[in-house]
């Protein structure tokens, strides 16, 4: 039996995996990484960039808010006045939990996955609101490019610290680039503003010991796959079934692998049942095959919103492995 890591490599290199890679099993995500991100259920708070967040009680996640003058950037042409780079924590004390976790991982079995979120695109709209961010790409492209370069410099500085501290051999990086129906921006605009930044980020990680780049975008983004390959993504996690996944595998398998297909909104919801999960997992495994594809929920962490869903998906993927391998 192959190790999780070997089985992953066989899958993404078009070899002979002996089972499906089961969701996030190959990623040991170092969530103790002091990124500054906070998850404060039921609260309203400002993060280290000054972005205001709300996580309403009883709801599934947190939201940046921009109404009533709360947006950090009030005028993109004066973004330097509003945006201050947060201090990157470098103390051994702050990193100790992350280092301990990374040291405890058996790297023959799993990847030590450094975690970073949110990425450049999300940061632009977290700072000023989606509409303002998207319109600024047309109306104030030079200022937006400056802001993107600034955010890039922060990411690269953080990457250097993370590399020094935990020596990740994988990076798991979040940046949502689309809705479930389309990418937020055109491929041309993406290539102009975001591809160059990501080539630098993922190029930096790969030049410093990272062997595997896993990028999360739970969305449609089929039109951005050539750019994903160009920037060095090995696995696109979050690929929704609104993308034609079998077609993507056929066209791009070998250049990139696809991890997802099990739409979290369809299986991880209040009225979920094991039968619903089983049906979606089976369809996903049968439709997408054994190479260049990892069956996985589309949401961006190995957790569920409704207790039991994640484990049930794991169990059903194991069942499909027994059936199809």
């Amino acid at each position: 039996m192959l190790t999780k890591r070997q089985n992953l490599l066989e899958t993404i290199h078009g070899g002979k995996p002996d089972r499906f890679v089961n969701q996030y099993e190959f990623l040991n995500i170092i969530m103790e990484t002091p990124t500054g991100i906070e998850f404060r259920y039921g609260e309203t708070w400002k993060d280290h960039w000054g972005i205001t967040w709300q996580w309403p009680e009883g709801q599934l996640g947190m939201f940046p808010v921009h109404h009533d003058g709360l947006a950090v950037i009030q005028d993109i042409t004066e973004w330097q006045k509003f945006v201050k780079k947060p201090e990157i924590v470098t103390s051994d004390e702050a990193w100790a939990p992350a280092v301990a976790h990374a040291n405890a991982v058996d790297r023959n079995e799993e990847y030590v996955a450094g975690f970073f979120a949110p990425g450049i695109f999300e940061m632009t709209h977290h700072l000023m609101g989606m509409e303002n961010a998207l319109m600024a790409l047309y109306e104030e492209p030079e200022a937006m490019q400056e802001l993107i370069d600034f955010l890039l410099s922060y990411e690269l500085e953080f990457a250097q610290v993370m590399i020094d501290k935990i020596h990740p051999d994988c990076i798991f990086h979040h940046d949502d680039w689309g809705s479930q129906l389309s990418s937020f921006v055109s491929p041309e605009m993406f290539a102009e503003f975001f591809l160059p930044a990501y080539k630098k980020i993922y190029g930096f990680y790969k030049a410093n010991g990272v062997e595997l780049v896993v990028h999360h975008s739970d969305s449609y983004a089929a039109n951005l796959v050539p750019d994903m390959i160009d920037m060095g993504i090995d696995i696109w996690q979050g690929v929704m079934n609104t993308n034609n996944i079998p077609e993507l595998i056929k066209e791009y398998g070998g250049g990139i692998s696809f991890m997802g297909g099990i739409h979290s909104g369809l299986v991880d919801f209040p009225a979920w049942t094991p039968e619903i999960v089983a049906e979606y997992v089976e369809k996903t495994c049968r439709d997408n095959g054994k190479q260049y594809f990892i069956p996985c929920q589309t949401s961006g962490l190995p957790i569920d919103n409704f207790q039991g869903v994640y484990e049930t998906i794991n169990k059903e993927i194991d069942r499909m492995s027994k059936e199809l391998f």
Binding site: M135, Y138, L181, S182
Partner: protein, 209 residues
Amino acid sequence: MSKIEEVKAKVEAGKSKLVPGLVQEALDAGIAPAEILQAMVDSMSVVGDKFSAGEIFVPEMLIAAKAMSKGVEVLKPLMAGDSSSSLGTCVIGTVAGDLHDIGKNLVSMMIESTGFEMVDLGVDVSADAFVEAVKNNANVKLVACSGLLTTTMPAMKEAVQTIKAAFPDLKVIVGGAPVTPEYAAEIGADGYAPDAGSASVKAKALVTV
């Protein structure tokens, strides 16, 4: 290219700095304000269709909507009191417990571009707040409810049913990632649209039948 065609082209291309001047030139050339407004509405209809077809993306739709609103600013003083080109008022909001506003804002812009006056209640809007807004605003013809979370679908159902109980003849349209046409029908909504472009088409169809 005629002045009116130029206005249409620049709205579609999202040239918000050029459109007000072109609208003024069209007025100076003797074209009626209502005709210019209709030309811009037609442009936004093309924009909506292109968005629905995946030919353009959110930024292109946003800048086109902004260009149109700049043009409308020029026309507004000349059309005060002329309600013939208005489709009425549309109350819009994201349902209780849900703070997503991007989709709702896009839909609001596109519905406005077809000729509705918009009353945007924002996010986390209770069923009662929708009803109050209908009561407190003139000529409300449509309510649009948005929701992105599976967990707020019950709030959407409550909103639709509360609105329909208070105003049985008022049209209600719903949308958002987890919403399907079947679910929209099940909870008693009059219409459903999968994206902002088709939402504007559906909104107009609902109030002009």
